[in-house]
Amino acid sequence: MAKTVLTLLGTKKGAFILRSEDNRASWTLEGPFCEHWPMNHVVGDPETRAIYGGGGNEWFGPAVWKSTDLGKSWSHSSEGLAYEEGKDPISAVWSLAPGHGRLYAGVAPAGLFASEDGGVSWSHVEGLQRHPTRPEWNPGGAGLILHSLVLDSDDAGKIWVGISSAGVFATEDGGETWEPRNSGTRCDFLPDDQKYPEFGQCVHCLVMAPGRGKRLYQQNHCGMYRSDDGGRSWASIENGLPSTFGFPAAVHPRDPETLYLLPLNGDIHGRYMPDARAAAWATRDGGATWADKRSGLPQENAYFNVLRQALAVDRLEPAGVYFGTGSGEVYASRDEGETWERIAQHLPSISSVETMVIET
């Protein structure tokens, strides 16, 4: 049976879909969708083939958009997607994750919501708000956002979240109770004797590797890390990278040792490609060694950034790797990151890239 690859883009001005046959040789662009709302995260649920877009609009507030016909038509809802009266209202949805028959949404100000009916209505996973550290969470540059949302494929009760800049938190009881999991991750922006706090780390992106090992990787504002114990302890894997600073990370769909990053030149140096030469960086050994992958990427005047949700892989063999830039370009590799080509340009600033492979 033929397969179709959908590359789902969230941008500052709506959602877009790049569509290709599974040879990934040519792409057609569809969109903009979602009435040009800023879309922070657009994801596909391969189980139902539904596409969800999470975002927020300065006029109309937060909502999750949904298409059940692969982008032809869209609806939107925020029923129940609200804190109680008197609290700071939700400004936007920042992350989405389908799994175990639910759809989860991370929002700003940081909080977690769940939908049992495919995004039609939402309920607050209140346990995270009750964590005793909650009053001390400080917002990062993009606000106090819950941007990373990792579900355990085997255990519906286990969820990890990344909050800027409160750090990584995890639950093992479906969201009733949470604990910080930041041991070993640095806060270079704090005084020397306070660089390893229990919480308050500026996590940029949290992803889980495939397989039963439950390995996590984390791109942080201050370094790149790996955890082999569900985030209870983290080890630096930044040696060999051009910078400790970047936003997204993506793991190979089948190999937990292979990880892709897009380091930027530093948090106070412009936040663009190091030396203005674009490269993805890959490890095939869990972060022990790194190699730059530049073939097909611009090697001069690459003053773009790549945001935390704008790097993704697909599930094909060999795996495809994709990233979208702040300057509206999408680059794709159909050989696991070895060579790249630009598959879209002149789009609005890209916030997220995800993929969905469907049988057609």
Binding site: E35, E58, W59, F60, G61, A63, E79, A82, P89, I90
Partner: protein, 98 residues
Amino acid sequence: MSAAAQAVETRPVVVRLAPLLVTLFPEADRVVELQAGSVRELVDALDARWPGMRDRICDSRPAIRRHMNVFVDGRRGRLDTMLRPGADVFILTAISGG
């Protein structure tokens, strides 16, 4: 009260919705007539007709969203602003660029 006076007392509020808001609710009308004694009741009535519209106009404080404007007889209103029979209400998106 005379019949004429009664008719005046029960005149509906006339609400004009921002085009962008109507875009989000394709079934909605640009101009709506309904009975409401306050902006809060008006928003409730709109939400009853087109579920979800309240969330687009109001946040959960609850208050009218920062970049939405509800003008009542030419003056900017709040949720607790009272409406006279026959009031003219405009629900507008604020000027915004980018």
